[in-house]
Amino acid sequence: MNKELDFSQVNWTEFGKATNATLQMLGYSSLFTLLLGLPIGIILFLTARSSSVGARTVYSILAFVVNLLRSVPFIILIIALLPFTKFIVDTQIGVRGMIPPLVIGAAPFFARLVETSLREVDRGVIEAAQSMGASTRQIVFRVILPEALPGLIAGFTITIITLISYTAMSGLVGGGGLGQLAVSYGYNRYETSVMLVALVIIVIMVQIIQMIGDRLVTHFTRK
């Protein structure tokens, strides 16, 4: 670490590209995490409360898989998923190559957050809907999801932020984006300034997303 902090080394065009790549990874992985995690969370919620043996078996299996995926460190998950990733997106590196492991890493996490916020919906309100003749489907879409919306948004915000840290980590294995920039310049070539800039951009992203999330939560909270 004998080099002074010298920002003249920073290649801003490269930073632009890297930021863009990170945002792309983040955008796609967040979207697919939502699309995958939300239904899984709903299924976990519905099957956990059911009295039928079949539903409880589904719950046990699903919960086991979710716990399993959640207990694998992300960096190992990327490596373990390499063949699967190749099969799905036909590459193992770059933005595309990172999306499957990101989604598979984050969706179980998000599914649990969904399950937890759905459980917080007042049982009485669900019963009231039942007493009016609502079907399970109507109860999910017209009662539970709207009532749990603030909690779901808060959970999704946390998930996106977790995904930001995952995308940074994926830089270690050729994931591209700000993480890779920070690793290849900052770590391998001791260009601390590059690492610092990458860090600042990531921190700013986290702050902005948290702020938007908090605003939305406040907006939708009616209690």
Binding site: V125, E127, A128, G133, R142, E147, R222
Partner: protein, 339 residues
């Protein structure tokens, strides 16, 4: 309208089994306000929740109109439930929806056309007096207003039956009265059958036609409110009534306080128009005995006025006997409480 036959509900199985309802039989007529009263844990909520199958009965029948609720498929049950409104102690409104949307909820479940939803919601808002609050969220309303929304929502689908699970227990006395008046009003206007459960005799006395007293999962007493109220047979029933109107130990002291040689203490009950007539004073004028009122209530059960006085007559014992006979002749109920 509603017939409940041998209804049994057991929670849990094996050693943890707990039988909350032990063979309930009830007959509730159309247009009637039927109250069920009981202490905490007696099985009131379980009973009312078995009527619309929020709780699956272990055995027995619940027949509404001509439909046995216990034998329906999931879809048939959903359909039947639309004919049965329900309101709750804690209102159970959608906090994410406005008052308007809450009332529209049951209508939208069956894809009612928009114009029809709007017409019906406005009619309901009017009925419960919340027209100005349509755009508010439940969190912005008082408890009484929330219950009005609950009532409007329950009635939006024009049900035949309204089930009320401790609908006024979370409200203050004044608000309770206004909600009870609203229920009575609806019962008259729409000819709706109302089943309500409560632990307050006052609620039963204000609006119910019939009452059943439940204890330990069994109906121990049942009948027209006026009969059960004035002639309670079971200790639990007396307990519910006494708590509100009499103070037993003060009465005992009053009965013992006499020094007269010949005295008899009786409970005199007036029902209906008799309540406001001067029967007692006219009678003692004729017979020449003295009397002291030890305790008394003049009140109403639903619309029927009644009076119940505990009176000690003093004087010649033959005169007292004649007095009691005269009172009975004039259709008062006279019950001797012991000298």
């Amino acid at each position: 309208m509603i017939t409940i036959k041998n209804l049994v509900k057991t929670y849990g199985t094996g050693t943890k089994a707990m039988t909350a309802l032990k063979g309930i039989n009830l007959e509730i007529a159309k247009g009637e306000i039927f109250g069920v009263i009981g202490h905490s844990g007696a099985g009131k909520s379980t009973l009312i929740r078995c009527i619309n199958m929020l709780e699956q009965p272990t055995s027995g029948e619940v027949v509404i109109g001509k439909t046995d609720m216990t034998k329906l498929s999931k879809n048939q049950l959903q359909e039947q439930r639309r004919r049965i409104g329900m309101i709750f102690q804690h209102f159970n409104l959608l906090s994410s929806a406005t008052v308007y949307e809450n009332i529209a909820f049951p209508l939208r479940l069956v894809r009612t056309p928009k114009a029809e939803v709007d017409r019906k919601v406005k009619e309901m808002l009017e009925l419960v007096g919340l027209t100005e609050h349509a755009k508010k969220h439940p969190a912005q309303l008082s408890g009484g207003q929330k219950q009005r929304v609950g009532i409007a929502r329950a009635l939006a689908t024009d049900p035949d039956v309204l089930l009320c699970d401790e609908a006024t227990s979370a409200l203050d006395p004044q608000t309770t009265d206004s909600i009870l008046r609203l229920l009575l009003d609806i019962n008259r206007k729409l000819g709706l059958t109302i089943v309500l459960i409560t632990h307050e005799m006052h609620v039963i006395q204000s609006i119910c036609d019939k009452v059943a007293v439940i204890q330990g999962g069994v109906i121990v007493e049942e009948g027209p409110v006026i009969e059960v109220f004035l002639k309670p047979q079971q200790p639990v029933t007396r307990d519910f009534i006494n708590r509100e109107s009499e103070n037993a130990s003060a009465l005992e002291e009053a009965i013992r306080s006499t020094t007269a040689v010949s005295a008899r203490t009786v409970k005199v009950t007036f029902i209906g128009d008799l309540t406001y007539q001067s029967i007692l004073s006219q009678t003692v004028k004729e017979t020449g005995v003295d009397f002291a009122i030890l305790q008394g209530t003049i009140s109403r059960i639903k619309e029927t006025p009644y009076g119940q006085l505990i009176v000690r007559f003093e004087g010649d014992s033959a005169d007292i006997v004649r007095t009691l006979e005269r009172l009975t002749e004039q259709r008062l109920e006279v019950e001797e409480l012991g000298a």
